[in-house]
């Protein structure tokens, strides 16, 4: 299950780059990507991304797994663009989306969460003036990342429980128990944090 790209341990130049630099680079490229005008610029970007994956020693399979969730969407947009605006435009748009998703995935594949969280803590530094503890912001970020697979698991349990009882899955019948479970989970997490001494 690839809800979020997960860290792949390798000893590579890309892994060794500081987390802040990688995140910064990602933001810069995303911002510049709106300036791209020619299909060959997108193609060049895709080549660069592929080279970065190679430099990070990320296996093809892991790279492909990151793109699978958006593949269908990109394909749909591509077909639409080919008919409406021509193949050059299709390469530009689809290539751009693919390159950015792949780059974002590359950052999380090559950066440990605690390093990413440290960047968040650093960025949140100025918030101290408004009485916000940057450490807390970082903790929230970790909790957020950690809770994605847990919530996916809870959703699966609710769906299975309803299927087992032969119930057709109606949105309300699904969301209500999911909410209850999520809240209960949140409660338990809060208590566990307190037990680990993180309530001050």
């Amino acid at each position: 299950m690839t809800v979020l790209a997960t860290y792949v341990e390798r000893d590579s130049p890309v892994h060794r780059l500081p987390a802040g630099a990688k995140l910064g680079g990602l933001v810069v490229i995303a911002a510049l990507s709106v300036l791209v005008r020619h299909w060959w610029q997108t193609a060049a970007l895709l080549v660069v991304v592929a080279l970065l994956y190679a430099a990070a020693y990320i296996p093809w399979r892991a790279a492909a797994a990151q793109l699978r969730p958006v593949a269908l969407l990109v394909a749909g947009i591509g077909v639409f663009q080919v008919f409406v605006a021509g193949w050059e435009r299709a390469v530009l748009v689809c290539g751009g989306i693919t390159a950015l998703v792949a780059l974002a995935a590359l950052v999380s594949l090559t950066t440990r969460t605690d390093a990413l969280v440290e960047v968040v803590v650093g960025l949140a530094g100025p918030l101290r003036r408004f009485g916000l503890d940057p450490e807390r912001v970082g903790l929230l970020a970790s909790l957020g990342i950690r809770s994605v697979p847990v919530l996916v698991g809870l959703a699966r349990e609710v769906r299975d429980a309803q299927r087992a009882r032969g119930a057709a899955t109606r949105p309300v019948a699904f969301l209500a128990p999911l909410m209850v479970r999520s809240l209960r989970h949140a409660d338990q997490v809060a208590e566990a944090l307190a037990a680990r001494g993180i309530d001050d």
Binding site: H185, V189, A194, R196, G197
Partner: protein, 230 residues
């Protein structure tokens, strides 16, 4: 050392009324391994949570190593580790080694000391192969071992566990049991799996909020069976 002096506890219910769930519990626990058993709703979890200041008694006092839980919650939590039933609720960080390091975050230890302790815990709990794995890819038993390791990496003087094997299959429950048997700190273990307690020094039986029996494991289990099956 654990000391309950005249402890009663009531949770406020939705209507603002108080329902008493623990009544006049006074006990002093110095043994190494202490078990707690009793029916659902008999007050075991409330009792256990009091040891870590997660619940402060409405009447009476709870002391751990002389510290009053009502006044020194922080110091208590540095000394008392707590292991819950559902490891998913206690694993805070996305990967195994990050979660272990998280436990040591507020200890103000030098970085290499944190790394050394994390390494030792990974080894002791057979988690070394999973160090950079996301926690959600671990099996239930491995998750519980991680949760336990995350508690023990801080060197607590007392470890409280509230039904730590309830969600585990037999093989994993046995693994956790072996770990519990080997623990150096004092242990208070709440469980429905009575065979977990056979080598314990002392077992408390709760019934409807009262501490109704206190003695050797076999006698406690017999007493509990008598309460439930008659």
């Amino acid at each position: 050392m654990i000391e309950f002096a005249g402890v009663s506890h009531a949770y406020p219910d939705a209507a603002g009324q108080a329902t008493t769930v623990l009544r006049e519990v006074s006990v002093r626990l110095t043994e190494h391994r202490i078990g707690v058993i009793g029916a659902n709703g008999s007050g075991k979890s409330t009792f256990a949570r009091m040891l870590n200041a997660l619940v402060v008694p409405s009447v009476g006092s709870v002391r751990v190593d002389g510290l009053d839980t009502a006044r020194e919650a922080r110091a208590i939590r540095r000394r008392v580790g707590f292991c819950f039933t559902d490891p998913d609720a206690q694993i805070v960080m996305p990967t195994v080694q990050e979660d272990l390091a998280f436990s040591l975050r507020r200890r103000h230890l030098p970085k290499d000391e944190v790394a050394r302790r994390v390494e030792a815990a990974l080894d002791t709990y057979g988690l070394a192969a999973y160090r950079t794995q996301p926690a959600h890819l671990l099996s239930g038993g491995q998750k519980q071992l991680l949760a336990l390791a995350a508690v023990l990496v801080t060197d607590p003087a007392l470890v409280v566990m509230d039904e730590p094997t309830t969600l585990l299959d037999l093989a994993n429950a046995v693994r956790v049991r072996e770990r519990v048997r080997a623990l150096a700190p004092q242990v208070v273990l709440v469980t429905h799996q009575l065979d977990l307690l056979d080598q314990f020094d002392r077992v408390l039986v709760f019934h409807e909020g009262r501490l109704v029996f206190d003695g050797a494991p076999a006698d406690a289990v017999a007493h509990y069976r008598g309460l439930v099956l008659t």
